[in-house]
Subunit: 370 residues, 2 copies
């Protein structure tokens, strides 16, 4: 006999075209009927935790989430709303709290990232316009960033949230610039320094709020790729202020960020990115304020779907090697992360924005490229 939770959950799923016990790849198989209660009472966090615990399965999680997200319903999950409210009143991404995502996510183990990412270890969205595979998509993305900045040999560039230094290495090698990269992940600095050895690249363990003290001289250009998602609304304007101070008057600030409705996903927040908050367009524009002029704004969010699916393929293929260091629950968690995000980008509920800002307008005009 079906309880009220089961009935309600099945009705919701049916509206999205999903059948419990169905045979299509995006239908779900329920192994433990406590799932319905957990998902309805605990929202997206309950659903994700139930998946990690093996209470349900789905052959194509990406397609499942695509169908759910394509319904364009804003979640009324109380945990989501509580997190959103908390982010308004307290600073969840202070220097101290920020260290959590570094330790819990980015320092999780370089073996994982080496297995999953492209050969340059670029942990942000690739640019698939003319790419046949992940390596090309990431190389094309790095080239796109450099070309949008029109980098010239001898320039000095700051990269806030440099990861394993893939941008720094590419820009130094191909464009002859020198790069200072900062990250708060120890593992990234250690491996990144090895990868960039011999190049005019300096990678440092520094929070963006600490850069000015160590590097008081303004940079020719500043890039930040896939880091603004960790800044948090309480610090958006502070971040922009730091960038403006660190940037020469005639320099460009290149911001790449995921975009969304400005909310916080409780499951992602607990298991993947503590303190993460996808900014909305309004968050970004408000934070930029009068400090910056928008010269160019490029959205290729659908490319994150392709990128995440490629990471997922690499991860699954490497699982045999990885399983000595990670358990089955981690595997389910990681796949859930990659595929639910892919579905969300496929439904265009999340965006990938590359924005070029200038401080006072490029004289004669900025010529944007694609």
């Amino acid at each position: 006999m079906q309880g009220p939770f089961e009935r309600q959950a099945k009705t919701m799923l049916r509206k999205a075209g999903i059948e419990v016990g169905g045979t299509r790849p995006y239908d779900i198989a329920v192994h433990d009927s406590r799932l319905y209660r957990r998902a309805l009472l605990h929202g997206s966090r309950g659903l994700g935790e139930a998946y990690m615990d093996g209470w349900w399965d789905c052959e194509a999680l990406d397609e499942l989430f695509y169908r759910i997200r394509a319904q364009r319903k804003e979640s009324k999950d109380p945990r989501r709303m509580a997190l959103w409210f908390t982010s308004k009143v307290s600073n969840l991404q202070s220097i101290e709290l920020s260290r959590e995502v570094a330790e819990r996510h980015y320092d999780r183990g370089n073996d994982l990232f080496i297995a999953m990412l492209d050969r340059r270890l670029t942990y942000t969205c690739g640019y698939w316009k003319e790419a046949a595979n992940l390596n090309e998509a990431q190389e094309n993305k790095l080239k796109l960033v450099c070309d949008k900045l029109a980098l010239r040999a001898g320039q000095r560039v700051l990269d806030i949230g440099c990861g394993f230094g893939s941008f720094a290495k590419y820009a130094a090698e191909q464009y002859g610039v020198s790069v200072v990269g900062v990250t708060i992940s120890k593992e990234q600095v250690v491996l990144g320094r090895k990868l960039c050895a011999g190049l005019p690249v300096e990678l440092c363990l520094l929070d963006y709020r600490e850069v000015r003290e160590k590097y008081p001289e303004p940079f020719d250009h500043i890039v930040s790729l896939g880091m603004f998602e960790h800044v948090g609304r309480k610090n958006h304007a502070l971040f922009m202020g730091e960038v403006a101070t660190l940037l020469k008057d005639e320099g460009l600030f290149f911001l790449q960020s995921i975009g969304g409705s400005g909310g916080i996903n409780p499951w992602i927040n607990k298991y993947v990115f503590p303190g993460g908050q996808i900014p909305s367009a309004e968050h970004i524009v408000q934070a930029a304020g009068r400090r910056f002029i928008i010269e160019d704004w490029h959205n290729f969010g659908a490319d994150y779907d392709t990128t995440l699916m490629a990471w997922h393929r690499n991860f699954v293929e490497a699982w045999e090697k990885l399983q000595s260091s990670y358990d089955e629950r981690f595997k389910r968690m990681w796949c859930y992360f990659l595929l639910s995000c892919a579905g969300s980008f496929r439904a265009r509920r999340n965006q990938l924005w590359q924005i070029v800002f200038s401080k006072h307008g490029v004289p004669g005009g900025y010529r944007s490229i694609r």
Copy 2:
């Protein structure tokens, strides 16, 4: 002997590198020393009116304003602040008040616009990327709009603020679409209809708030080129709401607008565009809200400098023919308008934004072009 106004004005000009009585094209010649008092007490409106009255001259007004605007000082002109405040509390662009700019500016006389504009009568910024002259720049701009929308034969497009129908004509001729164009200028409708005769183009005298009643069926795409500047902050969200209602779910909304700090220039407001208010990026993004996803944002503000200079050249060359219908004070006013705006775009204080919005994200991603 210099009075306090003269001393203060000269000090301010000197800071911008401008000399009273100097010999460079951007230096100014003062014919009536009451100028200083008028400009200091009445701000930009006093300065402009004094020019119209022949109290001062400058060989290259565009270069003069470029130098003033490049100083990046926000005007503390009390009239400007009063207008800004008024725009916050009252609706300066209601359906009734909006008619003023139609009658006072756009209905001023088609002879003027025919003399000044390109051969298609496009009264918005041209796209000079690969253009040798104004005709090419406007044709390239119209092509850019159509290509950014990826128009296909048989589609039905709404143009809000259609002017003389240059976009409607081009899109219908070159892309096989049908166009409904609305404007509140009687003169534009009369001439526009003649120019579009024989094409599937319907030009109507309608306010954007009245379109839905006459055309309840949603359009495939909507464009608005150089009209949002007249909407006013009190109506920005209403405008976006009307567009969202008039647009099919899978359609694109193409917005071209001048961008700035969101203020109102008192001289422009009195003599050129009553009710005009250049939106800021924040105004636009806030008004779009959750109705639209930003797919692409292109800034080619420096091209408005080139466009305005071309219009000025055409106007001056045609003056001999025009002077039977317009007086000398009008000529000075019109040149002051074109050249002061050119200087402002040259200093990058104003932007020209083309923004592509979708309602729910283009499936598979929007591919932007330049």
